[in-house]
């Protein structure tokens, strides 16, 4: 087998053009499981960990640009203030050892509906930057995944990074799994609130073939919340919001949980998320 380890993104793109079937690896935390069990037997492996620029993040205006190779440990340690939902989701990714290797781009590349970091990207209207020898393009995170394990990534493309808006208000992330740690989500939610623009956004994980936004719930919340005042959440608002979020989902039964439970869980998580964000918003107003 050939193991390719470019030092720059341009080199990486050229190699990906030359070997479109190369198995791309960065943190390896998904890829290597397949290799270890003989389910993937790559002839060519393209390792991106040699590209220093990829493992960095930077501020650009209102946005944060996260390189494809930034590990979750660093997201947790360095981006907690700017991107609370993403940092909170990152903290639930596997273990310390996994977070020391695994990257945001890995979650995108795997395109699992349960990828922990994906709902925060959706809820923050993040954009995924893709590059190839032929050029670059940007895809909204909401459109990146198309089916379980499938994304819009073309054979000659690599994920360069993610552009994501710095927090504009309260954010929240929660994840349900049948164990207190080290667990794949059976339902997860990321929510963001932008009081200046009077919007709420919701990204849901593990409750549909891809991570999904809950637009109707977002519109409901935007309309229902008393943005001018300092009123507590009206009775029933969180519950209705939860039900609308659940309506946006189409969960399945699998070995980890039943569809009915996933629906129930996302409903509960959504209601709690709205309440928590609103409480935080009120505290800030004070």
């Amino acid at each position: 087998m050939r193991f390719l380890r470019p030092g720059t993104m341009a080199e990486a793109c050229a190699l990906k053009a030359e070997y479109p079937d190369a198995l791309v690896i960065a943190g390896g935390t998904d890829v290597m499981v397949g290799v270890n069990f003989g389910r993937t037997d790559p002839l060519v492996m393209l390792d991106l960990t040699g590209i220093g620029e990829l493992a960095q993040w930077r501020s650009s205006g209102e946005d944060i640009h996260i390189g494809a190779g930034l590990t979750y440990s660093r997201i947790v340690a360095e981006l907690g203030d700017a991107l609370p939902a993403l940092a909170s989701a990152s903290r639930t990714v596997g273990s310390v050892q996994i977070r020391n290797r695994a990257t945001l781009a890995g979650n995108l590349g795997t395109a699992s509906p349960a990828g922990d970091a994906l709902p925060p990207l959706l809820a923050a209207d993040a954009a995924v930057e893709l590059v190839s020898a032929g050029g670059a393009r940007t895809v909204p995170a909401t459109e990146f995944c198309v089916a379980p394990g499938r994304s819009v990534l073309q054979r000659d493309e690599l994920i360069a990074g993610v552009r994501i808006a710095r927090r504009r208000g309260p954010q929240h992330f929660a994840k349900v799994g049948p164990r207190n740690a080290m667990v794949i989500a059976v339902a997860s939610i990321a929510t963001t609130m932008d009081p200046a623009n009077r919007t709420v956004a919701v990204g849901c994980g593990a409750v549909a073939p891809t991570p999904v936004r809950a637009r109707a719930a977002e519109e409901f919340a935007a309309a229902a919340l008393d943005w001018n005042g300092e009123a507590v959440l009206p009775k029933g608002t969180a519950a209705e919001f939860g039900a609308l979020v659940a309506d946006a989902c189409s969960p399945i039964d699998d070995v980890r949980a039943g569809a009915r439970y996933r629906r129930r869980a996302i409903e509960v998580l959504a209601g709690r998320a709205l309440r928590r964000m609103w409480d935080e918003h009120l505290r800030r107003v004070e």
């Binding site: 087998m1 690896i25 290597m32 050892q97 290797r101």
Partner: protein, 156 residues
């Protein structure tokens, strides 16, 4: 591929390495360092925890090709000759070892925790070791060992 790295302070140059095979297999089968254990090969159990360039990682999820030029430390590299590292000593004195299969990974994970957070709270301790499964001890005495190594309690 040809691969060079430092393992437990020693420079290794290896020929004919399959770059896609895991660092775990490279350590155990090529470098004859079986202290690092293979219990799941999915990153779920932490038994294969080693340091790569100062970070604790699951060696089963690192491709051998990725460690070209890296500095690797395994459980075999923690002791100072005949003198066990204080974390190792604490595991023995606390009774944190039973079958011992998870132990090398836990020792490295605990070592990494204390390097980062010398005085961890119980909550930090639990979260930091959540990626290391142990089937024998119920973790109680492992927590004791980390507390001893952190100088929080006396060895019994």
């Amino acid at each position: 591929m040809k691969l060079c790295c430092t393992v437990n302070g020693e420079w290794c140059a290896l020929d004919d390495v399959a770059g896609s095979e895991s660092l775990l297999r490279l350590l155990r089968e090529r470098l004859r360092l079986p202290g690092t254990k293979n219990a799941c090969e999915q990153g779920e159990c932490g038994s294969c925890t080693v340091y790569v360039d100062g970070e604790s990682v699951c060696s089963c999820l690192v491709a051998a090709g990725q460690v070209d030029g890296s500095d690797i430390v395994t459980v075999e590299g923690l002791a100072d000759g005949a003198d066990a590292h204080p974390v190792q000593e604490a595991f023995v004195s606390a009774g944190a070892v039973q079958c011992g299969f998870c132990t090398p990974g836990l020792v490295v994970a605990a070592h990494a925790l204390l390097a980062r957070t010398p005085d961890p709270t119980d909550a930090e301790l639990r979260e930091a070791l959540a990626g290391n499964l142990c089937r024998c001890t119920g973790y109680e005495k492992i927590f004791d060992a980390v507390r001893i190594a952190a100088g929080k309690t006396e060895a019994t």
